[in-house]
Symmetry: C2
Subunit: 726 residues, 2 copies
């Protein structure tokens, strides 16, 4: 049994508890120790409940014990609500008693700067072999066991949606919404400071729980980025995971740090990593709920075609607006379908293009049209928009769901009592109901995207194995990347001059932040990343001979660890047409550098064959604080900078990931032949990205790497500059 | 009294009716004629209600009359629910009886292709002097008169929000939401086919109604674009107008056309026009409601500073994420404030940076912190995030609102019964409550933007007069534009050769779609839009003399109405360095053109001084089908095309509009000195846009105009190509 398996087993024991202790139970209704006990009782928990209070007596009609040690049996879980100073003793008692896990609601640890207390807590728990949920949380709710082990709220309806959250209030809100409209929840889990059991453990636990169809996470950071991605990789092919991560804005990140002191990764990287591993990132709480609701109820769509069927034109029009904005296919309807509908003699005011406007509020018309549409397989999802009361609509839809192949979602505008009655009824029956067409469409789009991911993953799994997240797996790279990796075993690239001071520069590089460009070029070339013919030397004659050999025009660049911004210091000279111009530039550059940086040590000059014009990209890598080696690609120059046209993926990549990165760019059409230009060699860019992925996985000391620009041609690519910081 | 005033007076009479006739009233509960009568009665209308039904008798306890003619008095309004064929006779009766206006719910007109019936309706109404709301609508609700004159729903709560909508179901949904959470509504008005009274009339009516604080519109098109903008110009300085217009996507536009057959303008232009005239465009129904709710209750903020005050950290963090994304100022809190808060001895777990995390659910802590924050004037709006039940929170907030200067909005996550009780209570008291922090923040951002607009408008109105929408007002242009307009009075620009075949080309232009480039240049130069020195001729010697005069390099362009895409046909030659090269190119171009277009008539060649490099824009104009002359500016080349980096305004503009257009561009930093470049002459671009505004207002036959590229320099601008289609 792995550590993961053991953790999941412990969570299972805590959640399926037959007995629970409430340490710090209180008879004072204003205390969390009262509220928690009250919720456990009101929630209908069927096992034994043991209040623990040093004064003993009776609390809420239950016999109270003065300590865990006194209990007549070993409870499966203890909820701890005592002051922070008392917690370690309770953990020791729990350990002695043999309680497998505790839920610590107590706050006052790292989140208020008391890392010392948190470290003590961790040490005591390890020593006593007690697993911890929390601290600094409201608790958890696990509906299959009717266990409301937190101080608020009492949930009545079990349902297919589960939440995991670093904030109690937020998930309580979601749980209450789900309860109120009878979607229900299966579990709501608070994370707090996550000193032990973390979000990844809970995801894996919920993935194996049949009561859960989809999960929603609210995160302020993740405990271990690679562990998190591994969990996603296991969970997302089985169940949808929707994630809201705060810290989108800079001010948001600041307050995350002050709130849970978690390490918050860059937002854009976080979203990209989630998508890469099949999770569905969202930007607000409502989407978290809406997507979770739809994904836990509606069948995952088999394709991206949407039929919109409405009681009135307006609702259909705003639904199709949203659908088209999100790239959903709203197909035209086949004539055979239209003919069959017309034979039904429905309202003469109806319109039978997609979106269909029934111009009627009669449930039977919706049913008849939906049945014909399903027969003609016009779409994968039917969005049925009720407007004004549709009498009998709920019952009709629940029956319809059993009769048709397409997935169904509902939006219900207005409808008074009929809506109030039918909305929970439909939710309970697995047909998600939304307040507006746009909210329904957004959630449907997420489900379609998830369906695409599931199918793609299933295809891939029947073929090559998944990419391991924590190390570079050569078999996952394509042939070119493979040979790049093999190149590492010893071969020096020809372009590196034999007399280059290799040993010396390697030694220097260990202490320097930035590699000298010849070293950087050496490294990328080992990974088959193409760079123009070049030669490094501090001898003009050698440079001239090399330039004559590679052919003019050439570019001359200064090589000095004291000159970080070469261009700004006059350290780059282009369009050098002949040997004489090279000499002139060589001397002029030396003077310019001396003028700007009088004490700069010039290691030499790099002469490169000048590459021809092409579409420019920037390709880079960085050591993300959360996820480690991460790749970036952007449209060159002002696009990446001014337009923020960039895409990220966590290394190692698959070629599919690399291609998706490129396709994500708004400027992608420039690579495929926009404005009458010839299409570029996208395959070569994919190779370059794969090779870079290999490079950063095998060189974990690299902090930042820029290939800027990378020129893309009709055939091939060239990195024109390499900047590597360790 | 103007026509507008008369229309508003008629609406007032209909809405404030003392008596109403329901033509087509029915005793059958499945008929709209029953449902409407039932709603009027249940809504609590205090005036006389006259059911009209050819069979007479009694309906819903009221005496029915067989026709309008039989009524014992002249009702102030009649609702018409009879079949489409019968409507004209009812209108004639209404006219004879002297009823000022009718509400026609009957459908089956233009929206189903029966334009003939619609024209007949209009003619009969004009002839009989009867004003029409509709047809093809559900009706209207006017709460100050307790008049629910539509077949669904019955609204109980009067409130400050009013809606105007082309879709009944959509506004019924909004009205029910408002009713349910006791925001209430003042009016809900259906538009339908708008054969007579239109959205602009209703906006102007509601602007004068003290019961209305903000209005929300759902539109599928507007009847008259300029009239609509005039209405906005009158209404928005007084009251906020939030607008959802469908037809965002191409498929959306298609279904709009088939649904109401309104003319739907380009979405981007519509949004720009709304903003230009102070309305607040939104993209979905929920925003329409949320913004309307907040703007009709909360005091319009005096600035853009937001304080976020929450019971838990998570809620605050997602609120600040949204705020920063929307560009709201979330200021740091002054030390004096923090010191005073610390003296209050609140929860030791609280954090008093912005967002403030009280780490507590006690109403008095919120009050105390808010009072101190207001005393220190830390922000213009306080967003108070309740999480879990805040006992007594509603009452506390209602009192707090009276005590502080800052505007207040609430988000309430979870909270069970407390939330259910306090949400309507706070809404009713003018403190808007939202389900999530992000929804609250989005609405607050809209209110801040509206506040900025109101202050700017107030400033402007104290200065120069507003721009008239329907004609070019020279006094509104700056001096440069003025002189451009004066140039029209006769002066020919020097650059136009005296021997150019002016009369002939002008005559030709009347029949041609595109102006020849020399004509186009002539026109823009009349409006002071700078173009490089140039000369048009079909004589090589003349061209050479001109080129010698203007200095090399020059550009040579073919001038032929048969060659539309000059560059593609080899009709443009650049970098011509001397007279000999000019001759070579002149002959080569003639041959190339002949090869591609054997029958092309070449009018001559245009030789231009070649402009130096610069930042490139595209500036254009078009005759928008809804709003008429409309200007566009975009970043040059691939930016406008691939990145869709464009901005629109309806002509005529103010210089402030022109500047805003530029600032809207994502690429704007390129004009202000990004990447170490010198800043460009933005003032010169503003002048150019103003001059173009003048040009299109005075030349309404222009359908499309492109200046592409426009080069912007450190000093000055140049249009390098002018393409004008009439």
């Amino acid at each position: 049994m792995t550590n993961n398996d053991r953790t999941i087993q412990t969570i299972r024991q805590m959640f399926d508890a037959q007995s629970i202790a409430v340490v710090g139970a209180s008879a004072d209704p204003s205390k969390y120790g009262f509220m928690t006990l009250d919720c456990i009782i009101k929630g209908g928990f069927q096992g034994k409940i043991y209040p623990i209070n040093p004064r003993g007596g009776e609390i809420l009609g239950l016999q109270a014990y003065t300590s865990l040690m006194e209990l007549p049996e070993v409870p499966d879980v203890a909820v701890i609500l005592v002051p922070v100073q008392v917690v370690p003793q309770v953990i020791r008692d729990a350990g002695k008693k043999g309680i497998p896990g505790v839920v610590i609601t107590t706050a006052g640890y790292r989140e208020v700067g008391r890392d010392d207390l948190q470290q003590e807590l961790i040490a005591v728990a390890r020593e006593n072999n007690v697993r911890i949920i929390g601290p600094n949380i409201e608790g958890f709710i696990y509906m299959p066991n009717k266990l409301n082990a937190q101080f608020f709220p009492v949930i009545e309806n079990q349902g297919p949606f589960a939440t995991i959250s670093q904030s109690g209030s937020l998930t309580n809100g979601l749980a209450e919404w789900a309860d109120k409209e009878q979607l229900g929840i299966s579990a709501t889990i608070n994370l707090g400071n996550q000193v032990d059991i973390c979000e990844s453990d809970f995801m894996e636990f919920l993935a194996e729980d049949d009561a859960v169809k989809a999960m929603g996470l609210y995160l302020e950071g993740v405990k271990n980025g690679r562990r998190f991605l591994q969990a996603l990789q296991r969970v997302t092919p089985q169940k949808p995971v929707v994630i809201l991560k705060s810290g989108r804005s800079s001010a948001g990140e600041k307050s995350v740090a002050s709130h849970t002191a978690s390490l918050a990764g860059t937002h854009k990287v976080f979203h990209a990593a989630c998508r890469q591993y099949g999770a569905i990132p969202v930007d607000n709480l409502q989407d978290l709920y809406d997507y979770g609701k739809l994904l836990s109820t509606m069948e995952i769509p088999q394709g991206n075609r949407l039929l919109i069927l409405s009681s009135s034109g307006g609702i259909g029009v705003i639904a199709v607006d949203e659908a088209e904005t999100l790239g959903i296919d709203v197909p035209a309807l086949p004539q055979a379908f239209v003919d069959e509908i017309k034979a039904l003699n429905l309202s003469p005011l109806g319109s039978y293009t997609n979106p269909i406007d029934l111009a009627a509020i009669w449930a039977h018309e919706f049913r008849e049209v939906a049945l014909v549409a399903d027969k003609h397989d016009v779409a994968d999802v039917f969005l049925i928009n009720f407007g004004d009361p549709i009498v009998g609509g709920g019952e009709m839809i629940i029956e319809l769901k059993k009769q048709i192949k397409a997935s169904i979602a509902i939006s219900y505008m207005g409808g008074a009592q009929d809506e109030a009655m039918d909305r929970p009824r439909m939710n309970r029956a697995g047909v998600p109901v939304f307040s507006t067409p746009e909210r329904a469409v957004k959630a449907i789009a997420a489900a379609m995207e998830y369906g695409n991911f599931q199918r793609k993953t299933a295809d891939e799994q029947s073929g090559s194995p998944a990419v391991p997240i924590s190390s570079c797996d050569h078999t996952a790279c394509d042939d070119k990347a493979n040979s790049a990796c093999e190149a590492l075993q010893g071969t020096q690239m020809d372009a590196l001059p034999a007399d280059a001071p290799t040993n010396e520069t390697e030694k220097d590089a260990e202490t320097a932040d930035f590699l000298l460009e010849p070293q950087a070029v050496d490294l990328i070339e080992k990974y088959q990343i193409p760079y123009p013919p070049h030669y490094f030397s501090n001898n003009l004659d050698e440079l001239t001979t090399a330039a004559d050999g590679m052919g003019y025009p050439v570019v001359l660049k200064v090589v000095s660890r004291d000159v970080v911004h070469k261009s700004d210091s006059g350290g780059v000279s282009v369009n050098i047409e002949n040997a004489q111009a090279l000499e002139t530039q060589y001397e002029a550059m030396k003077s310019r550098i001396k003028a700007v940086h009088p004490h700069a040590v010039i290691e030499g000059m790099l002469v490169c064959h000048q590459a021809k014009e092409g579409v420019e990209l920037i390709v880079g890598a960085m050591d993300d604080p959360v996820f480690g080696p991460t790749l970036m690609v952007g449209m060159g120059g002002i696009f990446a900078e001014i337009m923020q046209d960039t895409a990220f993926r966590v290394a190692p990549l698959t070629p599919a990931h690399a291609r998706e990165m490129l396709m994500e760019l708004k400027g992608y059409p420039l690579l495929t032949g926009a404005r009458g230009m010839a299409p570029c060699d996208v395959d070569a860019v994919v190779d370059l990205i794969m090779n870079l992925s290999c490079l950063v996985m095998e060189n974990p000391d690299i902090k930042e790497l820029d290939l800027n620009p990378v020129r893309v041609y009709e055939k091939g690519v060239l990195a024109l500059d390499a900047r590597i910081m360790r």
